[in-house]
C-alpha cells in the first residue's frame, strides 16, 4: 500500500486520536498534518508495511508531544472522578462529555483500543506503560465512564 492509500485509510481515526490527546479540533488537524509530513519522509524506510497503522498512530503521538512541549499525558489519577459520587451534577452525561471529563492519560489508551483496534500489549508499547498498568487504565476508564453516564436521578437517589 502506498503512503497516500495508508493515509486515506487511517486519516479519520488519526484525527480522532489526535483530538482526544489535544482536546481541540484545530490542534488535532495541525498535529495530524505535521505528523504525516514527518511520516511521508520516513515511510520509504519503514520495513514492515503491515505495521504502518501502529507506526502512524505513534508518529501522531510524538508530534502531539512535541507540539505540547514534550509533556506526555499526566498519569493523573481518577480520584477526582471517584469522589464524584458526591457530585450528582456530574452524572447523566452524554458519553462524549463523559470522555471529555476523563484525564487524557485514561482517554488515550481507550482511543487507541477502540479507534485503533490495538491490543493491550501494543498500547502499552505505544504509551510507554506496562501491560498491567495499561489494562488497569482501560478498566478504570470504563468504570468511571459508566458512573458518569448513569442516569442522574438514580445516582442522586443513592447519595
Amino acid at each position: 500500500m502506498s503512503f497516500e492509500e495508508t493515509v486515506r485509510t487511517h486519516a479519520a481515526d488519526l484525527y480522532r486520536y489526535a483530538y482526544w490527546l489535544a482536546r481541540d479540533h484545530a490542534q488535532a488537524e495541525d498535529v495530524v498534518q505535521e505528523a504525516l509530513l514527518r511520516g511521508w519522509r520516513a515511510f520509504p524506510r519503514l520495513r514492515e508495511r503491515a505495521a504502518a497503522k501502529a507506526w502512524l498512530f505513534s508518529i501522531v503521538r510524538n508530534e502531539y508531544l512535541r507540539a505540547a512541549g514534550n509533556r506526555a499525558p499526566d498519569a493523573e489519577t481518577l480520584d477526582g472522578l471517584e469522589i464524584a459520587d458526591e457530585r450528582p451534577e456530574l452524572f447523566g452525561l452524554e458519553m462524549r462529555d463523559a470522555l471529555a471529563a476523563l484525564p487524557a492519560s485514561y482517554a488515550e489508551p481507550l482511543a487507541l483500543q477502540v479507534l485503533g483496534g490495538f491490543s493491550c500489549a501494543e498500547i502499552a508499547d505505544m504509551i510507554g506503560a506496562t501491560e498491567g498498568a495499561t489494562m488497569t487504565r482501560l478498566t478504570r476508564a470504563r468504570q468511571a465512564l459508566k458512573r458518569l453516564v448513569a442516569p442522574r436521578e438514580h445516582k442522586a437517589g443513592r447519595t
Binding site: 486515506r8 479540533h25 477502540v114 482501560l138 478498566t139
Partner: protein, 218 residues
C-alpha cells in the same frame, strides 16, 4: 473462569476469549452483563468518534501526492543542475544493479585472471544483446569473458573510455524494464535493457558510469 474473572476481563474491553465465552453460555448473570457491556462499547465508540472535518482523509492523502510531485520537481531540477551525476541521487537501489556491483567486487579479478575469449567469439556471443562494435565505438574493449551470473551466463567486459575504466555485464537472458541504479561501497552500477537482454555498467566514478550507460542507451 468465575463470575469475577469474567466481569473483570470484560471491563478491559479486550473482547471475549474462548474461556470467557464458555462461562457466559452457562451463566445467566454474566450473559446479561455481557449484553450490557456490548451496548456500552457501542456508545463508547460513538463517543470517541468525534466528527472529522469534511474531506479530511482526501485532503491529507492529496497533500502527500502534492508533496511527491514537488519532491520529483525538485529532484528533476537537481538532476539538471548536477548534470548526469544527478541521476544517481534520484534513483533507488536496484537489486540487479546491486548484484552487478557484487559481481565486479568478487568475480572481476578471477575473470581477468582466466583470460579473455577471442575477439570473433566475443563478437558472436554479444551480437544479439550488445554488439561488440558498439562498445568499441565508446572506447577500448580490454576483456570479454563468459561468467556464471544469477543462474545464467553473462559476459563480463572491461572497457577503457577516455574518462577511465568501467566494467560491463552483458546479460543475454535477463530481461528488465527501464534504467535502474545502485550504489554500494563506493561503486556505482546502472542496468538497462539491451537487445534481447540487458546490460549493467559498473564503476567507481558515478559520472563515468552514467555517461557510458547514457551512450549505450542512445
Amino acid at each position: 473462569m468465575n463470575c469475577l474473572d469474567y466481569r473483570r476481563q470484560l471491563l478491559c474491553g479486550t473482547g471475549e476469549t474462548d474461556g470467557m465465552r464458555v462461562h457466559r453460555l452457562q451463566c445467566a448473570g454474566c450473559a446479561s452483563e455481557w449484553q450490557e457491556q456490548a451496548a456500552f462499547e457501542g456508545a463508547l465508540r460513538a463517543g470517541l468518534e468525534v466528527p472529522v472535518p469534511a474531506g479530511f482523509g482526501e485532503r491529507m492523502a492529496n497533500a502527500q501526492v502534492a508533496r511527491r510531485r514537488r519532491f520529483l520537481a525538485v529532484a528533476a531540477t537537481a538532476l539538471v543542475a548536477a548534470g548526469a551525476g544527478g541521476y544517481a541521487w534520484l534513483a533507488r537501489q536496484d537489486p540487479l544493479a546491486l548484484a552487478n556491483i557484487d559481481f565486479v567486487m568478487k568475480e572481476e579479478a578471477n575473470s581477468i585472471m582466466m583470460g579473455a575469449i577471442p575477439h570473433a567469439e566475443a563478437q558472436a556471443a554479444l551480437a544479439a544483446t550488445l554488439p561488440l562494435d558498439r562498445l568499441e565505438g565508446l572506447g577500448q574493449v580490454k576483456h570479454v569473458r563468459p561468467c556464471p551470473f544469477n543462474g545464467a551466463t553473462a559476459y563480463h567486459v572491461v572497457l577503457m573510455v577516455p574518462q577511465g575504466k568501467v566494467s560491463l555485464l552483458v546479460m543475454p537472458s535477463t530481461r528488465i524494464r527501464g534504467r535502474h541504479h545502485a550504489e554500494k561501497e563506493g561503486m556505482h552500477a546502472e542496468v538497462m535493457p539491451a537487445g534481447n537482454g540487458s546490460v549493467g555498467v559498473i564503476g567507481i566514478d558515478a559520472a563515468v558510469v552514467d555517461s557510458v550507460a547514457g551512450a549505450l542507451k542512445a
